[in-house]
């Protein structure tokens, strides 16, 4: 019976691991489709997830001691709840948005924080609760069962869930279908768990069946939940990179990516400005590179009869949808490149007459790479001597606000290092034109000479882009604003400021509250918990750093980044297994592993500084695996040193999660944007050094 219980609970823990990671990825994607997908929001969602999980874990001990004796039956009901909640929660996130916020509006920092916190709370609290609770259930029959075994089992599920989603489900099914598939193992495991006692047969069938029916209900309700209020949904898909929708309202098609209307079939102004402002500058527009494109651009480009147009679009599905719905049209000489634009440019040997970057605002590390020093240097190398680089930033109508001015200045100061002539034109968006030759400001005259006819520019240019407006914009740029570098993404910081200004708010209150709560938490935890807290923090922090650096050097390559995320989980298993087998000198081993983590970060700094894009992909994979190996190794040691009893289990689990929560948030939104990649890594070393000191001053009892 003892073995049977262990086996049944272990099955539930593995299935919970699978379900929880898939749910985490699904919910993050859902939030990104409902809210802005900037780096701040991504970090905030992960923070909430880990923090609530940690809170659930802390509550496990407190509740089981006072109210809820651990039993198989209760674990079964909790597992059913966990299996049913993801589907309900995804639908709730989708539908409640328009209940709490005005339809069609974007949402600021604090409302997003509150919404993500409260909608995540039910699932995350239960999830955090279930892991230690499972251990307590096993311990009712096998008191010697260690917390580490549960940790290993959970990680096994996590790795499987991560791989299942990243390499299979994301390509094949919708979010609600994924929620169904990922929770089938949990439903089956729970059914078998109930089966341990014969008198619960009806309850088991009823409970499992109702949960399954609820999930199926959500799957069937999914199409309705996606229907837009305006027009109709004519295309919906989930690509590796996010949600793609096309809404049709009468004759107009609008492409939504991640819930944001990016391109419409009727935006002639943007199409003309983006294409003709740069191409008016070059004597011949024969070889063109477009990094992303939108409605009508290729038709405008065709007016120049180019020999070749390379159109780089990271997400093949976006390009396919744009062609299918006539948002962009095929023209002779078009070559669609399904690659990260920067990575393509780095590998290409071609020389272009114009490189036109048509990306959204750089509010993620991924997009920021197209507005940095190295990118501009690369673009310069790939341009013909008379060539022009153009890109755009959010526009302004009649006043240039300070965060926007700083943003434009930072880019200007970066790009002028590589181009002799840079001009900003205040169109519907602000268009940067960069060349080695002087820039022509009288665009209509230049187009006339070339015999190019336009509808918008010919009628509106002289009224909207007067010489006074053009020179005022260019004169307002601040030469003292630091440039935007790959390893020090100044622009991200400015993007955050602009985002906060838009909602007339500031993150100060949140930062203060978080600092106070962290200080209280850190003062209450033991030395061993602090080691795990700092390790959790460091692992997540270094994962963010590695993904950030990888993107800079190799571009956004979905499968390889998926592999990096997986290896950061995969090392935990062997690490924990080996740590559990260690019988002697646990304190010293803990110190040594802390030393190893510090050495690894030093190695990362040296590699980034001196290896840069010469580093092989295997380096990043090896680094991730070794860091997670050390982290996994520390868990059983810290747990043992902490005592291994029920409170120790919950507190060590929660320390790991709380550390991970802080590491994600602080690295993403503070360390990298404010201090750059190298100093962010140094900060992680500092954190680990503090942990080393804390554990070195501890006296080993055994």
């Amino acid at each position: 019976m003892k073995k049977k219980t262990e086996r049944a609970v272990t099955r539930v823990v593995i299935a919970t691991g699978i379900s929880s990671v898939v749910t985490q990825l699904l919910i993050i994607r859902e939030f990104l489709a409902q809210f802005l997908g900037n780096e701040f929001i991504i970090a905030l969602i992960l923070f909430n997830w880990l923090f609530l999980g940690g809170l659930g874990t802390i509550l496990a001990h407190w509740i089981t001691q006072r109210f809820w004796r651990p039993t198989i039956n209760r674990l079964g009901w909790l597992s059913l709840l966990l299996a049913g909640l993801p589907a309900v929660q995804i639908l709730a996130i989708r539908e409640l948005r328009d209940v709490f916020f005005i339809h069609g509006t974007s949402v600021g920092f604090y409302p997003t924080l509150a919404y993500t916190f409260f909608t995540l709370a039910p699932y995350c609290l239960v999830l955090g609760f279930v892991l230690p609770y499972s251990l307590f259930v096993i311990r009712t029959e096998s008191p010697d069962f260690t917390g580490t075994r549960i940790y290993i089992t959970d990680n096994l599920g996590d790795v499987s869930g991560g791989a299942l989603f990243s390499f299979a489900l994301v390509y094949m099914v919708t979010p609600l279908q994924a929620a169904l598939l990922a929770n089938l193992p949990l439903l089956a495991a729970t059914y078998l768990l109930f089966g341990l006692s014969s008198h619960r047969r009806i309850l088991a069938i009823l409970g499992t069946g109702i949960t399954l029916a609820i999930i199926l209900y959500c799957v069937f309700a999914e199409p309705s939940s996606l229907a837009p209020a305006e027009g109709k949904l004519v295309h919906y898909s989930e690509s590796r990179y996010g949600r793609i929708e096309v809404h049709q309202d009468q004759e107009q098609s609008t492409l939504f990516i991640g819930g944001i209307p990016l391109f419409s079939s009727q935006n002639l102004v943007m199409a003309e400005e983006t294409i003709h402002y740069p191409l008016a500058q070059v004597p011949q527009a024969k070889q063109i590179l477009l990094i992303s494109a939108q409605g009508g651009m290729l038709a405008q480009l065709h007016k120049y009869r180019p020999d070749a147009v390379d159109y780089a679009e990271l997400d093949p599905q976006v390009a396919e949808v744009q062609f299918r719905f006539g948002l962009i049209k095929t023209i002779p000489g078009l070559n669609v490149v399904h690659q990260d634009g920067r990575a393509y440019l780095a590998r290409s040997e071609k020389k272009y007459d114009a490189i036109i970057v048509n990306l959204s605002e750089p509010d993620t590390f991924q997009i920021n790479r197209f507005f940095t020093d190295r990118f501009f240097a690369l673009a310069r190398r790939r341009l013909a001597p008379h060539g022009v680089l153009s890109f755009s930033m959010q526009g302004f109508d009649n006043y240039l606000a300070e965060p926007q001015r700083q943003k434009l200045s930072s880019i200007y100061n970066t790009v002028t290092q590589y181009f002799d002539h840079v001009l900003l034109l205040p169109g519907q968006k602000i268009i940067f034109l960069c060349s080695s030759r002087p820039i022509e400001t009288d665009i209509p005259a230049s187009l006339n000479r070339k015999g190019i006819h336009t509808a918008y520019i010919s009628g509106y240019f002289y009224g909207n882009l007067t010489p006074e407006r053009i020179s005022r914009l260019n004169d307002m740029l601040d030469p003292a604003t630091p440039p935007n570098r790959d390893d020090f993404p100044m622009l991200m910081r400015l993007m955050f400021s602009q985002w906060f200004a838009k909602f007339d708010t500031s993150p100060t209150g949140f930062i203060l509250a978080l600092t106070v709560l962290s200080a209280i938490y850190l003062l209450r935890i033991t030395r061993e918990e602090y080691v795990l807290f700092s390790t959790g923090c460091m692992v997540m922090g270094s994962e963010v750093l590695v993904i950030f650096a990888f993107q800079i050097f190799f571009g956004y390559i979905y499968l390889q980044i998926g592999l990096i995320v997986t290896v950061f989980l995969a090392g935990l298993l062997p690490g924990a297994w080996y740590g559990q087998r260690l019988r002697l000198h646990r304190n010293r081993a803990l110190m040594l592993s802390d030393g190893l983590l510090i050495a690894l970060i030093i190695l990362l700094i040296l590699a980034l500084k001196y290896g840069a894009d010469r580093l092989p992909v295997a380096f990043f994979l090896g680094f991730g695996f070794t860091v997670s190996l050390a982290c996994g190794f520390q868990f059983p040691l810290a747990l043992y040193l902490r005592g291994g009893d029920a409170p120790a289990v919950t507190q060590t689990f929660s320390a790991d999660l709380m550390g991970a929560a802080c590491g994600t948030l602080v690295t993403n939104v503070v360390l990298i944007p404010y201090f750059g990649i190298i100093w962010a890594a140094v900060a992680l070393i500092g954190l680990k050094l503090s942990s080393l000191i804390v554990i070195a001053t501890r006296h080993e009892k055994t």
Partner: protein, 393 residues
């Protein structure tokens, strides 16, 4: 535990699947998402204790306010009727109570100064092909979620870079640049009423026209004072629904309607602008209702502009307005009896042109801000001699 038999399994499965499959039919929340939001009023609030400690150079006593007990004051310019205790700042962010006196902080410090084609305002029946010297300070008495000038309309005077341009300086600049009109525009001129009024009075003396580009959220008394020196206006009629005014704009409908009636009664030439926001203001029945109200209260002669919406500021998760909606609304308004209806922010040439309401011939062809064809003789149609409403000479 007994094993489940096949019949039992099939029965249970069918029951669960059957109940789940009906989900879509009973799905409760997929209708009219714009109507379900719990947030129904975004009107601004007074900023308590937010006034600066000291007045600055561009402070000026308010034009119309009432002194109350305990040094409180009530501003009388707009229907927000802000009641300010000492140290408070008004909803529009431009006015403060300093020791029982209401001051405006935006007198002579515009943050945006440009020379624009008059068609950009848009004013299509007011001296075509001329330019307007356009000025704005910070502040707005609304909170429009789609504001295209939010960086100044939702800012306080000391938060922006500004020019020093007192009323006399404005007139000098206008004369130097040889522009026949001054447009009080961009943010919300009602919030810099005192500055606008004094400048407009000087402009009138110098033979310069005054143009108000506004949301029309103003009380009758100050508006009557302004009408004495006002030559033209473009007033935004955001919708004919008070609910939408409160939800998207943070204002109320009735005062805006009153403004139209006052301008009409005072003989000021004005044009109306309606931004067609998908999901909110794109209801043909509401457009018909709006046209009927215009016809009953103002007559058929005031031009109406339907503008295309683009995702902006906080209302950035909606698609742009389809062109055919604008074309349909234009036709609908003309069918209802409004004589001059235009389509703006969109590539639709016919919607930019002026046709004689009597003989239907092309009077003014507009290619953007360029006017290649002009068939008016003074204020009359060159073909049928009908007087075309507007200020043409």
């Amino acid at each position: 535990m007994k094993k489940l038999n096949r019949r039992h399994f099939l029965f249970c499965s069918a029951a669960y699947l059957g109940s789940a499959a009906t989900a879509e039919a009973f799905w409760p929340l997929s209708i009219t998402k714009s109507a379900v939001s719990a947030t129904s009023d975004i009107r601004g609030k007074v900023f308590k204790g937010d006034a600066p400690k000291k007045m600055w150079k561009w402070s000026h006593e308010g034009f119309l306010y009432k002194k109350l007990d305990n040094n409180k004051v009530r501003c009388g310019i707009c229907p927000n009727h802000c009641m300010l205790s000492p140290g408070d700042r008004s909803v529009c962010r431009s006015k403060v109570n300093m020791d029982g006196i209401l001051y405006t902080l935006t007198y002579g410090n515009p943050c945006s100064v440009n020379i624009d084609p008059i068609e950009k305002k848009p004013l299509f029946h007011f001296k075509p092909r001329t330019k307007a010297f356009s000025i704005a300070t910070t502040g707005c008495n609304f909170r429009c979620l789609n504001c295209q000038n939010w960086e100044i309309s939702q800012a306080k005077p000391h938060e922006v870079r500004h020019h020093e341009l007192l009323p006399a300086d404005v007139i000098n600049a206008v004369l130097q640049n040889d522009t026949p009109s001054i447009a009080y525009t961009y943010s919300e001129p009602i919030t810099f009423f005192e500055y606008m009024l004094d400048t407009a009075r000087l402009a009138r003396e110098s033979g310069v026209h005054n143009l108000l580009i506004s949301n029309g959220y103003i009380n009758r008394k100050p508006l009557l004072e302004l009408c004495k020196v006002l030559d033209g206006a473009n007033v935004n009629l955001k919708s004919l629904s008070d609910d939408i005014y409160r939800k998207l704009n943070g204002g109320r409908l009735q005062p805006v309607l009153n403004t139209f009636k006052t301008l009409h009664e005072q003989g000021v030439h004005f044009e109306m602008t309606n931004l067609v926001v998908p999901g909110y203001v794109d209801d043909p029945d509401m457009v018909k209702k709006m046209c009927r109200w215009i016809l009953e209260n103002l007559g058929p002669n005031y031009p109406l502009h339907f503008l295309r919406f683009f995702p902006k500021y906080r209302l950035d998760r909606l698609p742009p307005t389809p062109l055919s909606t604008l074309i349909r609304f234009r036709q609908l308004a003309m069918d209802e009896g409004i004589r001059y209806v235009y389509v703006g922010n969109a590539s639709y040439r016919e919607g930019n042109n002026t046709y004689c309401h009597h003989c239907k011939k092309l009077l003014i062809e507009r290619l953007g801000y360029i006017v290649p064809t002009y068939n008016l003789d003074g204020e009359r149609c060159k073909y049928c001699r009908t007087v075309i409403p507007g200020r043409w000479t």
